[in-house]
Symmetry: C2
Subunit: 246 residues, 2 copies
């Protein structure tokens, strides 16, 4: 339909990067793109920590549970939800900020991180760069806070490794479109059979890329989601000043 | 730098639309773009309800606190976090899903909604369409659930109005880049003075567009964030099966 939509539809994760650096001008364009997205009430309650230092990236790779591509990629972006800045606005105006004491701040902060990271991904891919999002930074959020000196009322939500692809990667198929697009109201009718069909497709895809041990979509997803993983998220959120009980 | 990045950097909200419909082929491309974004563990824990019915849009405009542009736009997309589908995966594999009982599901669901909505925004704008994100659907989430028949373990996170712009709109300035981009670690040093400078800029911008009653960034943001707004979010999340205390 056009080059932008082609770029988006062509997305795939890249975990193998060339040693080639990313020019500062290019990196800054990606950050500006990320900042150009809308935010709830224009609160702009998010920040990005840009990490290029090899030692810091190596530490993050360990904190994320052993993900060597984080160290190998020339750039790592950490997206943080940031109610520290909006709290400075409250202090300036002589009022007490309350939003970080409600679930709304967690929701809005995370949506805004997603919007911004989405723009960074699309901008990077439009320039021939490859990316992989890193949820593993939530495995030990306190380590990220200490390492990157994140203040109170902030929380590290997601990371993004960026670099020039060293080898091509395959495009992962998605669930059938009608499990994702629901017209006029939610439609449950065909979800089971659509999942069955997707399991067959993913099983065959995983075989092709040499990861057949992952089974299929439903077996892999349910094996992760049968437990509360990343149990450190809640206590660290509370320590940072967030309260999800209002 | 290229057309895609130009599109992203040129983002602005559009609330005034032509009556012109959006072709089905174009709408579907936007939805496919939204589905092409990465999701945590490839769980694909989100869905979009596509609303074109005038009566439904009019009801949503009311539930969102009186936002007539929702009714006027030819298309409204509701982005929902969807652990109903991943629960079907659990049932198929004979395990009990636990993820929706932890804050991780709220975070991941919202980030994935943001990523997907980001792609929908950029895809739509690349085609000359205008958009405005609608957080107001969280004002009365139960009304959205009833109206659109959303099942348990789903939650309406954000909406998006899309249509052809009827009148141009101004591009809102952002906080200074160095409040957003932090190199190697978080930098608090100049935040207060950067906010002061941005307040002056926003005050002048708001005057230009005839909305001087909003004051400036810090006065407007702090006046919203001094209270827990959208107090219905938490009880409805709990009713839908989510628990943010693990």
């Amino acid at each position: 339909m056009n080059k932008t939509i082609e770029t988006i539809k062509n997305h795939r994760s890249i975990r193998d990067y060339k040693s080639k650096k990313i020019d500062e001008a290019i990196l800054n364009e990606i950050i500006i793109a990320a900042q150009s997205m809308p935010s709830s009430i224009n609160g702009q309650q998010l920040s990005i920590v840009v990490i290029q230092d090899k030692k810091t990236k190596t530490l993050i790779a360990e904190h994320a549970g052993g993900q060597p591509w984080i160290a190998k990629a020339p750039v790592f972006l950490l997206f943080i939800t940031d109610f520290f800045k909006t709290n400075l606005a409250a202090i300036k105006n002589g009022v007490t900020q309350k939003i970080h004491e409600s679930i709304e701040s967690t929701l809005v902060g995370a949506v805004d991180v997603g919007l911004s990271m989405g723009a960074a991904i699309i901008a990077a891919e439009s320039l021939g760069l490859g990316i992989v999002p890193i949820g593993g930074i939530r495995r030990d959020p306190q380590a990220m806070i200490d390492l990157l000196k994140l203040p109170e009322m902030t929380f590290p939500v997601a990371g993004l490794s960026i670099g020039y692809p060293n080898s091509p990667s395959d495009k992962k198929p998605r669930l059938p479109l009608n499990t994702f697009r629901h017209d006029e109201s939610y439609h449950k009718e065909n979800l089971e059979s659509d999942i069955d069909n997707y399991d067959v497709l993913m099983s065959s895809y995983l075989k092709t890329i040499g990861r057949s041990q992952e089974g299929n979509w439903s077996s892999r997803t349910s094996s992760v989601y049968k437990k509360v993983y990343f149990p450190n998220v809640l206590p660290v959120m509370i320590k940072q000043g967030f309260d999800n009980n209002k």
